[in-house]
Point group: C2
Chain length 461, copies 2
Amino acid sequence: MKKKTIIDELKKIVGAENVLADNEDMVTYSYDAAVLDAVIPIAAVMPENSGELGKIVKLCSEYCLPMTVRGAGTNLSGGTIPHNSGVVILTGKLNAILEINEADMYAVVQPGVVTATLAAAVEKKGLFYPPDPGSQAVSTIGGNVAENAGGLRGLKYGVTKDYVMGVSFYDAHGEHVRSGSRTVKCATGYNLAGLMVGSEGTLGVMDEIVLKLIPLPKARKSMVAVYKTIEQASKTVAAIIADRIVPATLELLDNFTIRAVESYSKAGLPLDAGALLLIEVDGHPGQVEEDGLRVEELCREFGADSVKVATDENERDRIWAARRSALSALAKLKPTLVLEDATVPRSKIPAMVKSLQEISQKYDISIGTFGHAGDGNLHPTILTDKRNKEEWLRVEQAIEEIFDRALELGGTLSGEHGTGLAKAPFLEREVGRSSILFSRRLRKALDPNNILNPGKVTGAL
Amino acid sequence: MKKKTIIDELKKIVGAENVLADNEDMVTYSYDAAVLDAVIPIAAVMPENSGELGKIVKLCSEYCLPMTVRGAGTNLSGGTIPHNSGVVILTGKLNAILEINEADMYAVVQPGVVTATLAAAVEKKGLFYPPDPGSQAVSTIGGNVAENAGGLRGLKYGVTKDYVMGVSFYDAHGEHVRSGSRTVKCATGYNLAGLMVGSEGTLGVMDEIVLKLIPLPKARKSMVAVYKTIEQASKTVAAIIADRIVPATLELLDNFTIRAVESYSKAGLPLDAGALLLIEVDGHPGQVEEDGLRVEELCREFGADSVKVATDENERDRIWAARRSALSALAKLKPTLVLEDATVPRSKIPAMVKSLQEISQKYDISIGTFGHAGDGNLHPTILTDKRNKEEWLRVEQAIEEIFDRALELGGTLSGEHGTGLAKAPFLEREVGRSSILFSRRLRKALDPNNILNPGKVTGAL
């Protein structure tokens, strides 16, 4: 079918104002936060309700047009890079919070709702939606579900997967499929809602998501521990967990990241520290008090030069704002930033930190390390310039070695960034051939014409 | 293939002592805890390790023999009723706890490990595996995963699904598939581990399961609140949740169940009470103290005649032993017991309780009601005699009406018992036709010869 016909058909569904096809627009939707080649789609379309979304999927199905759904495009694995003969479905206008049910503690949302918007809305009612990916200020719930986004609170509260109670979606044929429920317990039929989490738009196009909410913790306490060496910091992490304390967040920043963040945010971080731990405990006030003191003790025992406890909410917010600026701060330093996501069992954090230092030296590249140390999810961040072909080759080799090392330590290629295009070629190293073949059979049965975000997760079919 | 050949081939894999084919044995494996017709399989086989399990699956695959995996057979939906030309795979000898990792808080187990055995083993190390299905003393982890078992602690701690980090299994072709990880965060490939949960043996045969563990709560407090009417009790449940207290367990027993349990367990329950709430709060000692007092207050406010707090562990254990005996106690009263599992959003518990009373009167049948009121998961229990055809017809009509009422209230057909054979015919009412067709396409692609526990979950393909 001709491009013009497709665009005309799309306009019939959503109106001319909701179809974008200019070259400038197409460039906008040709890439995401991953360091991968851009791909220009044929059009982008912005449905305003579920009915329009269904018609778009049906149209694409009839004409075998690849579809890529895009929320904020903040994913780091190429999950929203479109197909060059495909359509980008934008969820920006599917942004209604349909229900916040206080009595039964769940929310029903459209996929385009911004994560932080939902979090703020439920907090007003004394409820808590814990998953807080780094990009929560702009990322969408649909994208979070599609990528199984994590965040700073994974250690204590889990990730997006742990909050998805139900999902409804249009399948590759445009049929509307429901799964899951509004009850905490549901053992009816296959766990399709669970399967949709992390499937990166390859199994269906979501129109509604039911999320579990929990009561807001009554108290919290944040602190910053300053270390001479990253070894001391990483050993503290292991010691805290071994002490059976589960902080809400337990974040590590190395010297490289500290300097970048400080120059960007002027938060007053100690520039000469080898590493920082940013820690928050939350829950019942009595528990926060006890856990806070014990964590402080452990930090000192494992070599912290100082431990500073935030005395009010402003100070607390400054700590976390600084942490959340890490990616932006690092991105300013060099033309290309590769944010990796290799994750290991948390007791292996000291070993992984050591390996990252060795890999950095071996390939003579800069690797900043920060991330969610408490749940084993480090973000080794490589600063480079992709146009420097010789260096880029070394970067690619270093990334492969990081992957292999994480797997050797019993870890995973991606803790929270997804497989997308970026990690699909490496998937076999982690899960084995049989798992990929199994996944491809599953996918092919559900999307026989390979129109749902082709190339992602399982690689080319 | 002839029965004798199959048995000979199985014996070659596991040794003669691990293959059962006598008529008496086959009767043993012809039924489970659901009220459904028994089906005699051709043999039962007991592999001793994953290698043998893989060979059995491969053999069945080559000869297109239906396979039904059976743990303790305690499921209530017919999930382990075999096929009459099929083999039953018993997991009794695949019962090793392979690892309890204290530092990283996970356990790796074979499917035949008994739930309570695992719970006790991790508790010794100060860790906690919360899912506690009613049958935990005999049920197996493999069965719990296959059925997505719940239990008394669903309200605060979730269900089996919330603790499965990884699963490895043999697919329908006998290929070994890995999924998930040993890390809290994992966004690599499809969430196949999540898909396996609740799939009732229809997508693969599990050989290893990785389970998340959490720190053991430091304190707990149990109490019994006695009410004149079940309405008062069910309104208290809604009030506790509305107060943002999340008890570990919040169980309801109606008068019918109280009498049955008391005659069976002699636990000292008040025979004239209209209903009881059995409540446990746990966590940090300060929180337990506060929540305990507030719950007591709410119980009285909503009409409890008395609230008795267990003063020691013995008294606590007696309360929960009495609750756990409910099913056995009820089962003694009549030849046939149908334990239903309709679940509603918890705020709808009062409405559901009222409907159950109306349905009981309308069809002139005895319905005892007990269950996990805190998570909306009631177990209406019908006592009858299946040989009384006239009454059985009324029972079947009542069950259908219970299902429809739960769905009207925004609930689900099954909170924790699974779909199995029992609920497959009703699935469409909840999830709709598209969801079933989607599920069948998925299943057919993964098991083209329909040999993995045929007939369960999606009905006949």
